[in-house]
Structures are given as C-alpha cells and as structure tokens.
Amino acid sequence: MNWTELAISFFVLLGGLFMLIGSIGLARLPDFYMRLHAPTKATTLGVGSLLIASMLFFSIKNSMFSIHEVLITIFLFITAPVSAHMMAKAALHVDTQTLERTQGSEAHQAATARKSTPSEADLANKQEGSES
C-alpha cells in the first residue's frame, strides 16, 4: 500500500505543478499569442497526470479495474488543440495586439487575411530551403 500511495502522491503533485505553471504562464506572459501556449500545453499534461492518479486510486481502493477517467483524458487531448486553434483564429480576426519584438510580420499579416502566400520571393525561398 505504501508504494502505491507514493506513486499516487507523485502523480497528484506533478499534475498540480503543471496546472499551476500553466496558470502562472497565463498571468505572466506579455502578449496573447504567447499566453496561448501556457494553458494549452501545461494543462493537458496536468489534467492527464491527475487522472492517472485518480485511476490508480480508485483501482486500488475498490480493488477492481477503474479506467473510465481515460475518457476525460482523451477528450481533453482532442479538444485542447482545437480550442487553441479557434482562439488563435478569433484573436487574429479581431487584431489582437502582439509584442513589438514578434518576428515574421509578413506571415502574421498573411494569416490575418487568410491569404495564400506571404510573397512570391518568400515562396521560392521556402521551397529551396525545404529541398536542401
């Protein structure tokens, strides 16, 4: 029992740590597109390890296999990138401010307009790069 309790405590602490880091990133990072990284990544793993802990806990406590927490994990892993993508798209649409030192302003403008290519010269450049 002691070893399993240690494992459960480890996963719970890991999960809590990642959730906290995700929210610290949300509060601390300077612009929206950077803030987007923190919750989408840190929270998926945070909730994931909390659910692993919960699975272990209930499997041992009731001494039968309890894996229905897997459903929430799968659901969050599928929806986290989708909602991040939708939020980024909405932010591009309403012209959210970016940090001044953000690079790649052509790509940013092209993404806002949903235009096909940043520019002809850029296109030729990229294809050379990917072939080499």
Binding site: V12, L13, G16, L26, F32, I72, L76, S83, Q97
Partner: protein, 89 residues
C-alpha cells in the same frame, strides 16, 4: 501522506484558479478573456477530480466529464461569436 498531498495540490489549484481569474478581470483583449475562461474550466475539472479522490467517491467523475464537454462547447461558441458576430447562423 496522500491526504497531505491532496491538500497541497488543492492549494496549488486554488492559486491557479486565482491567477486565471486575475487574467479574466485584467483583460486586456476579448481573446484573453476567452483564454482565461478556458483555463478556468480545465482547472475546475482538476479541482473536482481532487475532491473525488479526497472524498473517496467515484461519483464526481460524471461532473468532471460534463464540465469538460460544456467547457469545450462554450469556448467554441465564444470564439465563433468573435469570428462571425453570431453563434447560430
């Protein structure tokens, strides 16, 4: 030992909720507020799972699953509102 860890993590997630709440109030843009709401619902899923483990009852699983489903749908609806100015076209 597990109870201590659970209490500690409860505290950590409460801090995470407060930080997201601060971002929700602070803004500055609408997209930031949507992101803060998204983080809030994921944090509350974690809080409910912890509560279930603390109480030793598997009943809280359904609540967590429902919050996950509704949270995703509400994030999608809010983003759609920003994108199109309308939710159901």
């Amino acid at each position: 030992m597990l109870k201590t860890a659970l209490l500690l993590v409860n505290f950590m997630i409460a801090m995470a909720l407060l930080l997201s709440l601060w971002r929700l109030i602070q803004g500055p843009s609408l997209a930031d507020r949507i992101l803060a709401l998204d983080t809030l619902y994921i944090n509350s899923i974690a809080l409910i799972i912890l509560l279930g483990m603390y109480m030793g009852s598997p009943l809280y699983f359904e609540a967590a699953l429902l919050i996950a489903l509704l949270g995703f749908v509400s994030t999608a609806a809010l983003c759609k509102y920003l994108l199109r100015g309308d939710i159901i076209e």
